[in-house]
Amino acid sequence: MVVVLRGKSQQTTVLDVSSLNSLESSYYVRLNNTIWQDPLNSTSQWHVSYSQPNMTAHITANGALHLNTTIVSEPFAQAVNLYRSVNFSLSQNPVLSISLEASIGIHYGIRISGQDASGNPFQAWSESSYLQHRSGLGRIENFTMSASLEAYKVNGIFPAVGSSITNLQFYIEATPGQAGEYSLTIYRMTLVAPNRYSFNSSSRILDQMDGIVLTLNPANKLGYSDNHFSQGYVDYYIKGTSDLVYTVYYVHDLTVVGQGYIYSSSALTYNIASFSTSNVRSYPPLLIGNNTYSIVLAPSAGSFLTFQLEGFSLRYLSQAPLTTTPADIDATAAFTYYLMFLFVTPVAIVILVSRLFSHETKQAS
């Protein structure tokens, strides 16, 4: 019956996009076109401010910028800000690349702000961003931030033509009652324009890659939307730098439709990454083009060195899993039914049986 029925039903409730013919283009991104760099050998451009007037901090620069502060215990939170003015045009979708180290025990964050062509200010950071209130790890961390994307995430629209970034700010903050000596060291701060390099997905590519993008043409005959996306898979051979940590995104236009787990791969390995709507928790650090469906492999640390695509599959269901509960649902009756069948009835019958057949266990013991 299984064999006879194979493929006989009308295809209406599931859509699978898996043919390599659906792959429109593949390219990788390299952050190798430096537009600007702070050599970090002078403190003249940098300023320090405090949340409390009695705080002390000093900065030094010798190829790396060091902020050292002594915090005296107070019953409220305290912060030291380190900031400078800049003037970066957003016309090239520049990416800010930063390496820094914050001492253990302190919290820190990075904030970007700018203004449009008319001089109206805009923020490119939010309190809920992963760049805010981070715990110091006592080791170097690398960040790659698309300024346009950060502004989009906060404001819901991309900065208007002619906009620029005008201020970069770092801060360290102490919780109430915290005291001690803490530091923040910035080792590198560069602004780069991402370059795209096309490649043939069926052959193995060897290069340093800061992001891999597979652009798709799903040819959706059933008219399914992003809300119907259920699950996706992509399998590939991959190798990266020893510190490589990455995840996989499925992006339509500027919406992250699916996201996968976190992977690492310093040796050449075969991997199947799955991604789903329920896993979506962040945005790829690089800006992907509008009006496209893309599978994006984006590192949060390190770079890819080798990549070869083996296949992919995107699955849409007529009723895909919801990630939020609709507010208008009253599940009281269903929940009562559920508890009756799952707990009350079985336990009642077991009590009854155990009373009637208790001699069985007495014999056993």
Binding site: M1, T12, T13, V14, D16, Q319, I329, E360, A364
Partner: protein
């Protein structure tokens, strides 16, 4: 096998409970995975063995049970969606049908084995197997049924070779089933049954495995099968930092030896060594030893692996069977209480009642016990304590019989942990979310 009237009544009521729950519930994530594969096969002819997220035997079983549903749909049977589930109601029931039938199989095996209704009832009307088979839709019972059937064959003289092959089928549903197969191979090695048994056991096992995996090879998914299923499940996978762990050592003490060691193969080796040592001493019945060491394997796995909630269900039928043979009525009753509490903990602290009932991602009906801060830690601590209690009821001489006080004691433990973890928030102080 003729069932007595009370046994028939228990069987029918357990079946009615499952059939009453199955169409209206489901784990949206897992059910979506299964229904995608089935619909792809019957609607577009795609054999989804490359990306099927678990062992291929599960796929074949689902194909068989989904076929009648597909036939009924082609004949015009209507079906509809309940709330926001990603499967239709009757469709979900057909996907869960093999799991429910395996529950019935386990009930009948325990009944035949022990010749007592109470132990079989303690399994069949245990909320945890009901929750997994009829509500969640996960397939642990398809591994457990051949596992207990193999033990039954072994104990009733049905033949070692038949038992070992049934264990292989169990392992092909979920790899834990191979533990009992490995124990039988150890037994054959100890007894030096090279010609009579071991060659047939190994050759037969390899033939079944090859027959199951060959279609995967044919559709070009062998490498994804090895990396995505086999290596990942036996702890030799690498490169993934995803997935939750409810293991107390990893969650609280941040000890994760599987990052450096193939811990599951090593644990299997230790279980085989322990079994071989005890078997060579010959003090206990062989059927009891296989059961005992499989139960030890289940307990060790639940304590030291990622401790996924559904894996705890393995302990229930194994504990009840072992309790019957070892004269441990306390273990049989505790296996029931264990199932009730673990169902409550899984339902409230991990999945959320609305998830299984409404079919949506982040909904909670019982506000005070669901979606509470530190819920994963509370779950981890409670299940760890209950597994330790399970160990006590399995092997301690002082815990052979059951006392009702254990039930309020467990409730008090939950309330204590709830106070310290949820209200006080000790997790934050020790760096556990």
């Amino acid at each position: 096998m003729k069932l007595s009237k009370p046994a028939s009544a228990v069987l029918l009521s357990g079946l009615a409970i499952r059939l009453g729950l199955a169409p209206f519930t489901g784990h949206p994530g897992d059910m979506a995975l299964f229904v995608e594969s089935q619909r792809l096969f019957y609607q577009s002819g795609t054999i989804d063995l490359k990306y099927f997220p678990t062992l291929p035997m599960v796929y074949y079983v689902q194909l068989l049970f989904y076929a009648p549903y597909q036939l009924l749909r082609l004949l015009g049977m209507p079906d509809s969606q309940f709330l926001y589930h990603d499967t239709l109601m009757i469709e979900g029931l057909f996907l869960k049908l093999p799991l429910i039938l395996c529950d019935i199989g386990i009930f009948l095996v325990i009944l035949s084995f022990t010749r007592k209704l109470l132990p079989a009832t303690l399994f069949f009307l245990n909320p945890f197997p009901i929750y997994l088979s009829a509500v969640w839709g996960t397939y642990d019972s398809t591994m457990l049924f051949p596992l207990v059937l193999g033990v039954y064959f072994l104990a009733t003289g049905g033949g070692r070779i038949v038992s070992s092959l049934v264990f292989v089928i169990s392992g092909l549903m979920k790899l834990f089933g191979f533990v009992a197969f490995a124990l039988l191979i150890c037994e054959s090695l100890i007894r030096r049954r090279f010609r009579a048994e071991i060659s047939w056991e190994i050759l037969g096992g390899l033939a079944i495995i090859a027959g199951t995996v060959f279609p995967v090879f044919l559709v070009g998914g062998f490498e994804s099968f090895l990396h995505g299923v086999v290596y990942r499940f036996i702890g030799l996978g690498y490169g993934t930092a995803g997935g939750a762990s409810y293991n107390v050592f990893e969650t609280v003490f941040k000890i994760n030896p599987s990052g450096n060691l193939p811990i599951l193969p090593a644990a299997l080796g230790l279980i085989c060594l322990g079994y071989s040592y005890e078997s060579s001493k010959g003090k206990q019945l062989r059927r009891l030893l296989v059961l005992k060491w499989t139960l030890i394997g289940g307990l060790a796995f639940s304590l030291f692996s990622a401790s996924e909630p559904q894996w705890l269900s393995w302990l229930v039928p194994l504990g009840i069977l072992y309790g019957s043979f070892a004269g441990r009525a306390g273990l049989q009753y505790f296996a029931y209480i264990f199932g009730v509490f673990v169902t409550f903990l899984t339902m409230t602290l991990l999945q959320g009642s609305a998830y299984m009932l409404v079919g949506s991602g982040a909904g909670f009906i019982l506000g005070y016990v669901e979606n509470v801060p530190g819920s994963a830690l509370l779950y981890t601590m409670m299940t760890t304590i209950m597994i330790v209690m399970f160990c006590g009821y399995s092997f301690s001489k002082r815990l052979k019989s059951f006392r009702l006080e254990v039930i309020p004691l467990t409730v008090l433990l939950y309330l204590q942990l709830y106070f310290w973890i949820v209200v006080v928030g000790v997790g934050k102080f020790v760096g556990v979310a």
